[in-house]
């Protein structure tokens, strides 16, 4: 967890080069909206990821949080080139992945693996655990020596806490938590440097969730892994991450060390998000003040102008907010480290209490909600993660 180097980045943007494993610059993923039966016409785009800059250091856990539809999963997939970026660079260990094709890209995949949300859906039901684990190893020439491969398999099972006899079993024979362990073992089988975990625990029961969170932490220490954890549960993300980025409608709105983000959130959206998380402590629940956001996430096919959050922001100002898109910047506040960046024009004034929150006009947010014909379902998550 805390194996990352304690050095703070000094410059606003760039971290020291040798430290950075993943460097994403200006990444955009736009999906076309097609219409027409015989001739496909592109009538618009869904701006799923729209200008993401992000660096992850070696051995670090970077948590990416945001609500459904904010583009966090698409970002994770685009980093691994599972989704073709529309624009931007993904520098992985110095290589630009976006420029790689075919065999060269396939070879790189060994170093970056993914753990999916739904452990049943992401494991082939007709493969045994042995076949599941060996497939990736064979593809990267790690299973040429049968004896060594067997030893590796049992080491993998050991690492993720599965019994030896698991090798001959099929995914349906396991419980949810064990399946997720299989998924993690599969990601580990090719000895990757980076693991992108997309909602790794949200489909699991609370008690099992904690087991998997602990496992991820142990594995990081043992194998020196770097994680990009994508999740909507802020408490989990805060628990496992060194640094956290908060996403809203395709871009980061705030980025900070885990502790800084939770003790002094600067962006209005981060504040609202943090205050919305139910705390399992009645005394805290009774006394704390919640910032209730009005309305839903606007359509990413028709994002609001200026600051994407201005339609729901309780601190919205008459100027700049709706015309000028704020960039991530270091704020000029005492006690705020250089690594804490926020995309808000008025962050200083809000932090000092000079600006007060006001009511948000519901009609305004409603307009944006129904403006696009495509994606009104985005307010709810898919069925797979609604399991308690």
């Amino acid at each position: 967890m805390t194996t990352s180097t304690p050095t703070q980045p000094t410059a606003d943007q760039a971290l020291p080069d040798e430290d950075v494993l993943l460097d994403v610059r200006g990444l955009k993923v736009h999906f076309p909206i097609k219409k027409g039966v015989l001739i496909d016409r592109t009538v618009g785009h869904v701006y799923a990821v729209d200008g993401m800059d992000l660096q992850i250091r070696r051995g670090e856990t970077y948590g990416l949080v945001g609500e459904s539809g904010c583009g966090k999963s698409t970002f994770g997939r685009a980093v691994l080139q599972l989704e073709e970026p529309t624009e931007g660079e993904v520098l992985f260990d110095g290589t630009d992945l976006a420029s790689l094709r075919g065999e060269a890209l396939r070879r790189q995949r060994r170093h970056m693996q993914m753990v999916f949300q739904d452990p049943l859906g992401s494991l082939d039901p007709r493969q045994t655990v042995e076949q599941l684990l060996l497939e990736g190893m064979r593809a990267h020439g790690l299973a040429d020596d049968a004896k060594a491969a067997r030893a590796r398999l049992s080491a993998l099972l050991d690492a993720v806490g599965l019994p030896k006899n698991a090798l001959s079993k099929y995914p349906h024979e396991f419980s949810g938590g064990q399946r997720q362990r299989v998924g993690i073992a599969r990601a580990l089988s090719v000895d990757p440097k980076l693991i992108v975990a997309d909602e790794p625990v949200s489909a699991l029961d609370v008690s099992v969730q904690a087991q998997v969170v602990n496992l991820l932490e142990d594995l990081q220490e043992e194998f020196g892994l770097t994680y990009l954890v994508i999740a909507h549960d802020l408490a989990v993300v805060r628990h496992i991450s060194d640094r956290i980025g908060v996403m809203y409608l395709g871009a980061l709105v705030e980025e900070a060390d885990a502790d800084d983000l939770y003790t002094s959130p600067l962006h209005p959206y981060t504040r609202a998000l943090l205050s919305a998380v139910p705390v399992p402590d009645p005394t805290v629940e009774d006394t704390r003040e919640q910032i209730l956001l009005a309305g839903d996430l606007p359509s990413p096919a028709n994002p609001p102008s200026g600051c994407r959050f201005h339609t729901r922001c309780p601190w919205r100002q008459a100027t700049r907010c709706d015309t000028e898109r704020p960039q991530l910047r270091v704020v000029d506040l005492p006690g705020t480290p250089a690594g804490h960046r926020v995309a808000c024009h008025w962050a200083e004034q809000i932090a000092s209490g000079e600006l007060r929150p006001h009511d948000v006009d519901m009609e305004l947010t409603d307009q944006t909600l129904t403006a696009g014909p495509v994606d009104t379902t985005l307010g709810a998550k898919g069925l797979t993660d609604t399991l308690p």
Partner: protein, 357 residues
Amino acid sequence: MTTQASTTAYPSGAGGGEPLLSVRDLTVTFGRGGRAFTAVDHVSFDVQPGQTVGLVGESGCGKSVTSLAIMQLLPSRGNTVSGTVSFAGEDLLSLSDAQMRDRRGRDLAMIFQDPLSSLNPVVPLGTQVAEVLQRHKGMKNAPAQKRAAELLDKVGIPDPTRRLKEYPHQLSGGMRQRALIAMALACEPRLLIADEPTTALDVTIQAQILALLKELVQDSGTALIMITHDLGVVAGLCDEVNVLYGGRIVERAGRHDLFARPRHPYTGGLLASIPRLTEERGRRLTPVPGSVADNIPWDHGCAFAPRCASEIGVCRERTPELVPDRPELGADRLLRCHNPLESNPLDDAPTTEESGA
């Protein structure tokens, strides 16, 4: 039921009076003979008018089956329901289907987890909300539509008249859940059962829906049964909490008591499993080991024993009973454990009192 759809506001909080809903020894068994599985096992609890009672537990603990059994929504074939569910003095389990239909939606209503699959996709929203009013209150279409618009407005759906003509897919997840709440509240039921109403929603939307539920319960005096796996939701909403494990209630307490002094090792384990925003970072989570698949049957001892850190010899020999815990904790505090926790498992962990927000 001789009184028609009562609109009287009830005093909130648990009074000494007659409970609105009284569930006694509710047992639901799926299948027959050797392959029978008891999903809910002698569950008893009361709900007072205006009270919010929580049923908490992980998947497979029987919390949803309990609610479906109360609403008589379980399929009639292939399962056996026994015990009594008395609602305002009347046993719901002995009613005929037709009699039950008269009560569902009027006296007791339910909100489901997945709002999209609970709404009819090919019927406009207005018709779906108005249907309840027409069925139970005998309203004509035009006044029912007007009332439906008022209801949508009450639950915070902007521009309700336009929404009446829209279909469920045109609404966002939060809006759909609001519409479902509007339908449930249309006849001002005396009991509302909410089965994981916010699990499918994002945190900011969840906060909106919870605030709405809290407000409605306070304003109308509706009793609420809140079924959830999220202890955070329970902490903010429920007056009394029942923790379920393996189909049985293992602990019952008021919410302040439960969170301050969890007595059952399962409750303690759940509380220690969740990372909190308000604590110092770096505490290692202490999960409950194993999974529900490790349970032993209740008649051979305590179902939780194989996963329990406080297990003692007797746990696998004698079934613990749900009995009042120590008198100093109050008579309402029930516990089913041979070797309860003496101290809060979180007390040795460093916690900060203030909320991070």
